[in-house]
Symmetry: C2
Subunit: 361 residues, 2 copies
């Protein structure tokens, strides 16, 4: 029986395992937290640092196929494993690219894929020269995650509070909305693109508040978005599931914002809302199995359950939530919560958008 190793044992790994139990594979997890959501449900659970070369290398050597559920891992160890013949998906060069937001932007520019205007900032001294670029978002080159590592700079007065590490300054876009598209590719080159999902942000926490799928695109818009998704995965020789987030401008342009080379929060509604979930698709892709259908099964709305205070977790209102028809609860098994921490999500499905909106009222 083949073993899949995952770097990271959070909720993405947990939902991956829930589905992977249907297949003839063992799942091994490496995570620094012995109480991570995957602890106790993986066939093997290793406690260790994801950024440590030796830890990642030793873990990787014991599995047949290695994948990730978080980008912040030691890529040098992955390079070594690949050099020794190990299968690592997505490939190390992709993870390295996506770890660095500046490299990601330069990659998009090189492929002539529309993305918001930007300048690279190496040090705080370089900022004042770009006052005309404001309002803008300053994004740290590395280490940003879940809304962290991003600052909005309104006027040049904000330069005093800017990040001092290498970053990029991205021109604020006049947005109609934000969407995400999941795309999968397997080693045989088969590609499957999911219908777009619209994301509605909670701007206080800079986290997705809720998201709705499918987001209806005109045929030419669909062609644009799908074309971009295919161009990216083909160019990267990508294997696995890739989440691509887009800004949709008031003028109707689709600008790639960011990418995540793995199952992603913006694809959680695929569990009940699409024939093949993002977790099943990722497994099929990395194991070189035929990809599943990305077709929607009606409409789906996904709502993140976010920690409201620090401490031991308490769930309130479980019965009220489950009393609604077509509601699916997904808690991540985290024993401790803190403000803004993703504790779970709820998916709501309906046959029509109108029904979905009715359920929300």
């Amino acid at each position: 029986m083949k073993t899949i190793g995952i770097l990271g044992g959070g909720q993405l790994g947990r939902m991956f395992i829930q589905n992977a139990l249907n297949y003839p594979y063992n799942i091994h997890i490496l995570d620094p937290d012995r109480e991570a959501p995957c602890a106790g449900i993986a066939h093997e659970f290793w406690v260790g640092k994801l950024t440590d070369f030796e830890t990642v290398y030793q873990f990787g050597k014991t599995v047949d196929v290695l994948t990730i559920e978080i980008e912040n891992v030691n890529v040098d160890a992955l390079d070594r494993l690949v050099a020794e013949g190990k299968t690592v998906y997505p490939q190390p060069h992709i993870i390295r690219l996506i770890q660095d937001k500046r490299a990601q932007k330069l990659f998009l520019k090189r492929l002539q894929i529309p993305t918001a205007d930007f300048v690279l900032i190496d040090s705080p001294e370089a900022l004042p020269a770009h006052a005309e670029f404001l309002p803008a978002f300053q994004k740290l080159a590395v280490g940003g995650y879940d809304g962290k590592g991003v600052k909005r700079l309104h006027t040049s007065a904000d330069f005093a509070q800017a990040f001092t590490e290498p970053s990029l300054l991205e021109k604020a876009v006049d947005m109609r909305t934000e969407i995400a598209v999941m795309v999968a590719r397997n080693p045989s080159g088969e590609i499957a693109v999911y219908p777009a999902v619209e994301m509605v942000f909670d701007h206080a926490l800079n986290l997705i508040d809720y998201q709705c799928a499918p987001y209806m695109l005109q045929p030419h818009e669909q062609a644009t978005v799908e074309g971009i998704a295919r161009k990216i995965v083909e160019n990267l020789d990508f294997v696995g599931v890739l989440a691509i987030e887009f800004f949709v401008t008031k003028e109707g342009e689709f600008l790639v914002n960011e990418m995540a080379p793995r199952p992603h929060n913006s694809g959680h509604q695929t569990i009940e809302g699409n024939i093949c979930s993002q977790f099943d698709q990722h497994l099929r892709a990395i194991m070189d199995l035929p990809l599943g259908s990305t077709a929607s099964r009606g409409y789906a709305l996904m709502y993140n359950l976010i920690g409201e205070e620090d401490g031991t977790v308490v769930y309130v209102g479980l019965e009220a939530v489950l009393g609604r028809q077509g509601v699916y609860l997904h808690l991540y098994g985290k024993t401790h919560t803190r403000i803004g921490r993703k504790m779970g999500h709820i998916t709501l499905i309906a046959d029509t958008m109108a029904e979905l909106e009715e359920s929300l009222a």
Copy 2:
């Protein structure tokens, strides 16, 4: 965090856990086989005999809510646990009733629920007096499972090969087909009935070959079937999910064949084919949560994957299966197979019955 204990750690427990991971509960399992499908994925896994009073009693004392995934358990221990205030669903009197096929038939008769004609047989000497009852099925009062404990008696010559233990003789029915209906009830008295599923048997192994849902019933037939399901769970004060199997006669009568007080093979297609799966529904019922919607999401066909020989398990044709659209694979993680052993199942979904039949071709 509350703990749910399950007596039995087979595939039903495994699929229960896959869904239960979405809830804030710990799942503990008791099973005699340390390589059972639930081993390694339960929060606690106890190895011990399900028919041993002390084992079941000690296990039950450590959990908040106790349930089953197999009927062949020590019910005296459950009685003791209930007497001491423990929550056990389905309740011990129901498990005791269903362990005994004769008691089950007498119960149906008492409620005037249609069922095939039968006579109770206490010893082999009693058989010849019922030659006029043939052709008939002889069913062992206790211990039958997965098609075992049932013999077809064609003529009185077959009496020589009949079971010698206490049994019942059930008149063979001139059948149009067989269907099953899952019904759930929670302690608050809420009841939810699933659409019927049609079962197509493999008569060689006496196991379901494949099943199709929903099986379309006329409104008056739906009312009959649903009325029977409600009558049974209300009369038993049932809590949990109950599978009711029916013979549909050539005359269009619905005769209750057997019942199983738990998620059941005949409900596997509810995972992808209905809004709330039988496993989610059982969890909701025993935890006194609101029941989920039983509505169908299109059409679903479920096919059992049965062991073809004895030995270490080998899966053949995985890629061909997954290459079909709308196919879901569920393997049960059994390391050894034998002829006729349930190793997994496949569910196929489609929007229409015609599409489903097309996929089958």
